[in-house]
Subunit: 338 residues, 2 copies
């Protein structure tokens, strides 16, 4: 089987690729596992060498819209080499989309549609996993969110990123209904702790406020300490993406999106977990510096998720933020000693 991961050089994309390469086989839509022959990583940047040196990995570097635009169906096979599974993770992130409306429309709407068109042109009905986001939900004074979000809550996005992801869900749903793909709309929670560098996501600080202080570096927290957030560890997030492929159509259920499970916590509790692992010195490296632009987006997102459909698929949230920080710490130590 051939697999494509867009955004394949991103943190989640690379981690997903490693998990799949390690497993060496994947069950699609309830069928027995098949061997993974190749994984194509499409991204604007290149992945790390542990991946690019793997004989099963193909790397395609470029802008997804440009790669897919004005190509013949034969050329599109270069991007989608008879793939059975496409993980569409590539996206412009929330902060970027709010600052640059056109970038968001191109990266999140146009690229998703172009990729779906390429799948349709293949004619082989691949499994298409669309990484949507918690950001489709937005609280506002004129339309408050319910206290707990479930799989049937009406999304009322309060950011361009949220709107664009929700439009992506609609496209995936209709391409699935038409039989062009097997659609899997998956709403990711805020992933924490992400390794690496800060990015343009409004939620970036929710990893940075742990990652940077543990490395002895200052980090800012732009929201009040009692801000409640819905988080998922990288491991649980990858588990959800893979489960979406494994589930049969009836197990998966409706074409609307599945909310992944989330751990509800507050940034104050996150800071307390940091202190447990890094000591008071690490906790003091958090600079509680309010940023209205970031705060407006992040506090509009819900914090309590009743992820009934995900639960039905056997997916569970992380048990505690302490455990998430512990796992992050162990992985960091392992990668430093490797």
């Amino acid at each position: 089987m051939h697999i494509v991961i867009t955004g394949g050089a991103g943190f989640l994309g690379q981690r997903l690729a490693r998990e799949l390469l390690k497993a060496a086989a994947l069950s699609i839509s309830g069928e027995p596992p098949s061997p993974i022959e190749s994984i194509t990583l499409v991204d604007r940047v290149t992945p790390l060498t542990d991946l690019s040196n793997d004989a099963r990995v193909r790397v395609i570097t470029g802008d997804l819209n440009q790669l897919l635009a004005s190509t013949t169906p034969a050329d599109q096979q270069v991007v989608l080499p008879s793939s059975s599974v496409i993980f569409h993770l590539a996206a412009a992130v929330s902060g970027e989309c709010e600052a640059d409306f056109d970038l968001g429309m191109r990266s999140n709407v146009d690229a998703t549609r172009a990729l779906l068109e390429s799948c349709r042109a293949m004619g082989t009905k691949p499994v298409f996993v669309f990484a949507s986001s918690l950001a489709v939900f937005g609280n506002s004074a004129e339309q408050p969110l319910p206290d707990v979000i479930d799989d049937r809550t009406l999304p009322t996005p309060q950011s361009s990123y949220g709107i664009q992801k929700f439009i992506g869900e609609q496209l995936v749903a209709d391409y699935a209904r038409k039989g062009f793909i097997r659609g899997r709309n998956v709403r990711l929670m805020t992933v924490s702790v992400r390794p690496g560098k800060p990015n343009g996501a409004a939620s970036s600080f929710l990893s940075g406020m742990i990652r940077e202080p543990l490395a002895g570096v200052k980090a800012s927290c732009p929201v009040p300490p009692d801000t409640a957030v819905a988080l998922s560890s990288p491991g649980k997030t990858i588990e959800g993406l893979i489960r979406a492929v494994q589930a049969s159509d009836p197990e998966w259920g409706p074409r609307t999106a599945v909310n992944l499970p989330a751990l509800t916590t507050t940034v104050r509790e996150m800071a307390q977990s940091l202190e447990k692992f890094g000591g008071p010195a690490a906790a003091r490296l958090i600079d509680w510096a309010p940023d209205p632009a970031v705060s407006r987006i992040v506090t509009s997102w819900p914090s309590k998720i009743d992820a009934a459909r995900a639960r039905g698929l056997g997916l569970k949230p992380d048990t505690s933020f302490d455990d998430i920080v512990a796992a992050y710490h162990t992985e960091c130590t392992a990668s430093r000693t490797a």
Copy 2:
């Protein structure tokens, strides 16, 4: 004030134009009424001469995508001549979109986005009334609709038309949030009785089964007699579109769509109303000929609407289908004698 109506040569577009010309003035967003200086009707076909001969009416004939594509901002002023209000009624209809996926995407998604971009380029934040549809709601075995739909019910479209209209709502919502337009997402119910000819809408027969027999012509009804439907007369529908412009932003409320009020009835009761006005001979002209393709779409739509936001704006549903048929009959007679 200048007004643009896309789909302006369609039945609703022409009726809307006549109402506005008769009123001669319009209140925008809670402000005192201003005189209507011009109405631009954009459509692929030309409107009737009572409109095209009116000195206040400008007619632009062509495909909306082509008119708006690859033009300079100055050229776009030709389509949107410093307009304060845009009624975006142009669309490919449900049956067409189901038969021709690409046509639907072009006509309903691309054209809506191009028009919104033109509004953004104007920089004057016009009121943008988007005619969405009841068809965003779709019942299915794996995701049954609630018995009664309200303004916060999650749309789960079961047709490409429904998906495309729902994507249009999201675009309008975000263009409004960004301050490019004043957005007014309005979900129209099935309009009955439409005069004129049948069209490619799956709901076309809901007018035809009254209109044709009253004119002594056979008409088919492709769904079972106990099929429940949510209808609105042409008059009530136009009233809803105009009210959307008049309402101030706070009166209008959230950027999500407002469901217009609907009369819930069944096609059996509709046939009974026909018999009251046209006699048994007219009722016998209905050919009860099931059509699975049409039936699948129409029976997936909800029939009971709790239109709370519309009610808050003073909008009410039609009182009975008998009254709708009576009004249609009166209008037909008036136009024949005019």
